[in-house]
Symmetry: D2
Subunit: 276 residues, 4 copies
């Protein structure tokens, strides 16, 4: 790829890491909180993940003053592209009104897949940290067989856990068997959860209801990886004395440099596909 001019707009440490990685690859980098909001000359503006936390200003903790989203949209010139992560529909529509090319890198499937790697490692770290037994030779149940479920299963199997996966689709059950895990249908969950040492939830809906939690053993550690509000009846779990950890945003916490690298690779893919 030919060297490009990037403006790194807002963001936290991960944006700094990303700026370094782009610089190491030979690109020209301007960092907004150091060198100011200089939109001139740059080809691509890299916004933070998430894009905004208040729906009004850019997520830019290192800036002293707030940066209204409108200011950014107004400052952009023809031919410039703004890439950021986790952009709400509202902002997307606004960008369209301004005629701005706005791309959500967090929406890209390759990023979601690769982000599942630090997420899985973070979950493994939490499991080792918060239990009195080893993952090795323990019974581990993963709820859901999407990106995180698949990669977490692969790692837990590699550490030596007995991996059970709960899935709905006949097709997923076939995949689970073919990859040497034990498949559990959702209708068989209640009979099986009592034998589990660890349960990892990846399904973003209330899957561990009051009723299901009653079949759990108290010693079981639940790690909920589903985005807010998660998949566990937390109140009920607490009442039953079952430990639950709701782990969010693991890639940025557990492996910020790897996470920045994944964003960089995704940005490169977007650039290539769009011929920027």
């Amino acid at each position: 790829m030919e060297p490009k001019k990037f403006l790194i707009l807002g963001g936290d440490n991960r944006s700094i890491e990303l700026a370094n990685l782009l610089y190491e690859d030979g690109h020209n980098i301007t960092i907004s909180h150091i060198e100011g909001l200089n939109f001139r000359d740059c080809h691509i503006i890299i916004g933070p993940l998430p894009f905004t936390k208040d729906n009004k200003t850019i997520n830019a903790p290192f800036h002293i003053e707030k940066i209204p989203i409108e200011i950014v949209f107004e400052s952009m010139k023809k031919g410039q592209v703004l890439m950021a992560g986790g952009i709400a529909d509202e902002q997307m529509k606004k960008a369209m009104k301004y005629g701005i090319e706005l791309v959500d890198y967090f929406d890209r499937e390759e990023l979601q897949i690769l982000n599942a790697i630090p997420t899985a490692e973070g979950a493994i770290k939490l499991a080792i940290e918060h239990s009195v037994i080893t993952l090795h030779n323990s019974n581990v149940l993963i709820l859901g067989f999407g990106r995180i479920g698949k990669i977490l299963a692969n790692m837990l199997h590699g550490i030596g856990a007995n991996v059970y996966i709960a899935a709905r689709k006949v097709k997923d059950i076939a995949w689970i068997k073919s990859l040497n895990y034990k498949a559990i249908g959702f209708n068989q969950l209640n009979e099986n959860v009592g034998d589990m040492d660890f349960v990892f939830n990846t399904i973003p809906s209330l899957i561990l209801t009051k009723e299901r939690l009653e079949h759990f053993h108290r010693k079981t550690l639940i790690i909920d990886l589903a985005s807010k509000p998660g998949g566990v009846d937390f109140m009920q779990a607490e009442e039953l004395g079952i430990k639950v950890i709701h782990a969010l945003g693991l890639p940025g916490k557990v492996a910020p440099l790897t996470a920045a690298n994944i964003i960089k690779e995704t940005i490169y893919n977007i650039i290539e596909e769009r011929g920027i």
Copy 2:
């Protein structure tokens, strides 16, 4: 599942294995070439895989006389279901005219996934058999990352090969990396094939063209798993002295009992889904 009455219609040894497995599960079984074409009383008729080889009669090598497809369609009664494998559109349309419920079990995704297991083992056996080196520590390239590609990669990695996978989609490249294989884009194939000891093709189109084969090392063994006509320019490969094995129908050859079991499980899924 409640015991059902099955008529096993035509088929080869795999149909006999399937009849035994259904019988062991407590079902009532009639085998057509032994007990005649008795369509009365049975709930489900299990046809062979493939359903027909001449587009006119049932694939029934153990029968002395040919069984025209029309005879079967005419003999079937309301409420009966015919399940067979690899049914052409022509037969499907004909069945509709007769008002027959005809289901293709070979079309089901779970069967295709599970069939990839004996296919992968068969490919591994061929690779060990037809080379002077071990798979362990060899460079192995898989073309395509669909069902067979994924399961074959998992097994070859488990044996200790260095697994490279060629894929097109950015999403597949991410999956390949996340599962610890090395990803090769199709545009990088020519630079990389020369280092490969084994190449397994799973893509059903001419992927190893004359031009691409010229970048191969002569010692490389190619195993083509794609259905006819395969993905290799066989003439050119022969001219260049590159060994190619076009391996078809591996599940039935390598593991007929496992293959029968997979069909059985698929039939059970169909029964459950349709409430038969």
Copy 3:
């Protein structure tokens, strides 16, 4: 095994876990700090790990008063066996003088092997915790291919790290290759350490000397698993800005219940071998 009478003598939480596990298996248990130092009737006395911290009294943090080792030796009767962990030669000799049967369960090879499992998990947790990248796809070097080296390599490979192992013996190099890791001779260390993201030391002698550390990249995380004084020139590492974690006693910290279970199984093996 027939139920036996155990006196749990001293020890920390792990001894309590062990008492529970023995109780669950149907044995009769007396716990010294609750029920007093009642040596009568018991078949086997289970001392702590380590046996003593001051070479004079039993390691017994839950006891209000110190328990001199001599008192224990004097109180024991013919036919009773004392099993404890990490017993120094001095105590062994003293026990012989008293005619006491004293067995060191920490000395047993099966315990050392099984203890390598929680040690490896603890090391993995530390590696995830103290780095900005994932273990997956990182370059990981293990110094030594003994118990911990072998089990740690297996787990790291399972998580998706690129595993390099430094070993001296030609025989170990062959094992390393046969298990799909990359072998590095000790004379090639200096050329290779610069590419490593993580280095795990398992060799209990000064292996990472001043001179060797100079070939390290500053970003490398060193986790030293060797017992005191460890295998790293810690001062030099600090000077060079290389992060080192000296991790000791991981089984008890990371997985006390698993650790207690390992001790229990070892005690059972001792009982069976000695026909107690």
Copy 4:
């Protein structure tokens, strides 16, 4: 290593492969059946594996005339070394009388370890070939946890078999557990063999006796990898209708080039250690 002069003495295709490999590494090679028994000038004479089949002459199938061992010993000069494989004590003693430096490369542990790789692959090929089910998801029992047992277990686990290992030593049981296989004591064999789909024997003594075979299921496939006379009561197995394959010399059959490479590496180790 500096280029050396090798005389390749006798041997079959593997010796030719070895000659090629040494030549590719830059050494000077003379092949006895082509260029004659020219002992002059060479540093190292590489004899075949096995050294002799009749205890009198060199194993040299490509030579028209027999080569008596004595002639070789007499022809050798001071400073020359003869390396061959599988040398009987008788020949070793004779060599000493002649003052000849004779080294058995087949005796070396690294060769034995690395040879277990093609042996394991050959066993896997036979298992796939001679059964009607897949190795994946089958129950597989390995008798013995030495070199072949360890490497075969690793590969079978990688393919997705449920791996059981029978071992005697408490220490081996711990290793088996720590590597995620299921351990079976020899006293529990009879209760467990009935559930096995495949049994691989690696123990060179009569382990599958008449009595033990009676607990087998008839469908079980036994692959005996132990050197002659093997570890199975073959007559009894035949009587019971249990299929047994006694597989010998797999490295040379399954992967002659890999096998030659292993010999080459071993020869290099001998050269280095002896400072030749």
